[in-house]
């Protein structure tokens, strides 16, 4: 009896600090944000009505979904290509692939966005080079538009897309691949009809991670979009800091959380969380 009581006490004492911390510093203020969305500037559903009717907000939502979809396709395909070598390559190839995945992964989002500015801006590396070989006379506009945003976001998200794919590729039975080759299937055919279908759960997991991350992305679109291709996260920032309209900013945040939550629930119906690591 004493044992059970002290067990419960012990668990409660050890777990309480973090739970309290997050209730006070996260759950309670989140409810405050939800409250803002219903009360500012006037109580009611006005802000949610504005979300549906405001053409600017709508165009930002549509642009965000479009960019997120493109980034997802680009990132998953690119991640797939490098993961194949990371998981199945020769020892030297593996080390090199790991280096190319992990170095960008650990470098901050700001540095990486800045690297793309250095490459893509009007006086950046690519335009300088293309002009010096006489290929173009006027610099190409590669940043401050959707192209720059897609490039920068894909670059940021490829390493995140790699991990679920790698876990799927590691767990598949190599003998099946060898059997397919041994029975005379070509490399291409083995890849498309055996390898890819067997890594389906990794593809779904990695696509969902990239898509969900893209929806709430702030830094890269703000730097590489240059204020011209605003996505949801930047719109929230602008509503809160530039045209103080806290109610609308809060309402967009709530809609974003609900949307992402629904997507995650759908994801976990198809993939176990463990398969994503």
């Amino acid at each position: 009896m004493r044992g059970i009581l002290s067990d419960r006490m012990g668990a409660a004492l050890l777990m309480a600090p973090l739970l309290l911390f997050l209730v006070i510093a996260y759950a309670w203020p989140f409810l405050g944000v939800v409250k803002w969305s219903f009360t500012l500037p006037t109580p009611g559903l006005g802000q949610y009505g504005a979300l549906v009717s405001d053409p600017l907000v709508q165009s930002v939502f549509i642009r965000t979904l479009r960019i997120a979809a493109i980034v997802t396709i680009v990132s998953v395909i690119a991640a797939y290509a490098i993961t194949v070598v990371w998981v199945r390559g020769s020892p030297v190839q593996r080390v090199l692939a790991e280096f190319c995945i992990l170095v960008p992964f650990w470098i901050s989002v700001l540095t990486r966005a800045f690297g793309w500015v250095a490459l893509l801006s009007n006086r950046g590396l690519i335009n300088t080079w293309l002009q010096s070989i006489g290929f173009i006379s006027e610099p190409l506009t590669l940043v401050r538009n959707e192209f720059g945003v897609v490039v920068g976001m894909s670059h940021f998200l490829i390493p995140f897309a790699v991990f679920p794919l790698a876990s799927a590729m590691r767990s598949l039975d190599e003998r099946v691949l060898l059997a397919a080759r041994g029975l005379g299937s070509s490399r291409m055919r083995t890849f498309w009809t055996v390898f890819v279908p067997m890594t389906r759960s990794g593809i779904i997991g990695s696509a969902m991670i990239v898509f969900v991350f893209s929806l709430g992305f702030f830094v890269t679109p703000a730097i590489l979009g240059g204020g011209r291709s605003v996505m949801i996260a930047e719109l929230i920032y602008l509503r809160i800091f530039q045209s103080p309209d806290w109610g609308l900013g809060a309402a967009i945040s709530v809609v974003l959380v609900v949307f992402v939550g629904t997507l995650m629930a759908l994801l976990f119906r198809h993939v176990k969380p463990k398969q994503l690591v």
Binding site: R8, L96, W106, S108, V219, S253
Partner: protein
Amino acid sequence: MPTYRPGPVSLILAVLVALFLLLPLLAVIPVSLTPSRMLTMPTGELSLRHYRSLIEDPRWLESILLSIRIGVVSSALSTVLALTFSLGVWMFQPRFTAALVGFVLLPMVVPPVVSAVTLYFLLTSVSGITSFFGYDTWLGVAMAHSVMTVPFATVLILVSLSQLDRRIDLAARGLGASVWERATRVIMPNIKFGIVTAALLSFVLSWEEIGVTLFITSVNAITLPRLMWMGLRDNIDPAIAALSVILIIITVLVLAVRSVVTRRQATP
């Protein structure tokens, strides 16, 4: 034994992706050496003036020191909270564990911009009560960073606990050790590596945090990423290129050391 290796087409595609991943990191090197005050490619002569300005301009040094202070405090807070919570979960396996862990992981899965609005709400509310803990204060930033990093610390510590043999804890318990003794003298020495990793990751995440920091600082608590952000948005300062080169070199060195160490551990 035959193995299934990627063919030439796979290799070519992988090389293209690898170039794409490394290109922007390499691109900052020439930019950092430009003698111009603008962001341009150096034409002819090279200069280290932007590296010098990192040392000479007090703003950079101040924000570096501030970022270190915030990183240390928030990492300590995250690690302690994550450690006690994880010990509770592992030692007592309470009911609703999955729900409680899920709750703790929320700041990791909620879109960062929503967490940023949430923490902005918290700190502006607190600002009315006390001036040194609210919006645009270093303590406020440290606390907000802890909220964002504590899920990562918790995951790392829970993972290293899950690899621990329960029987050593049962033995200690059978021999009459108290909860405190079991935690500090039996369990914690065995998950040292996980705890240190959690603290380091929390520090790194705080060190480079920008999404939340942008919402909760304005003029006083200028962390290094915040200063970089200001330099990137307004008039692009090539000192950022110099700083980026230094940060990239540090990252590459740390990863190289880590891979050498883990390889040595793998082949004794």
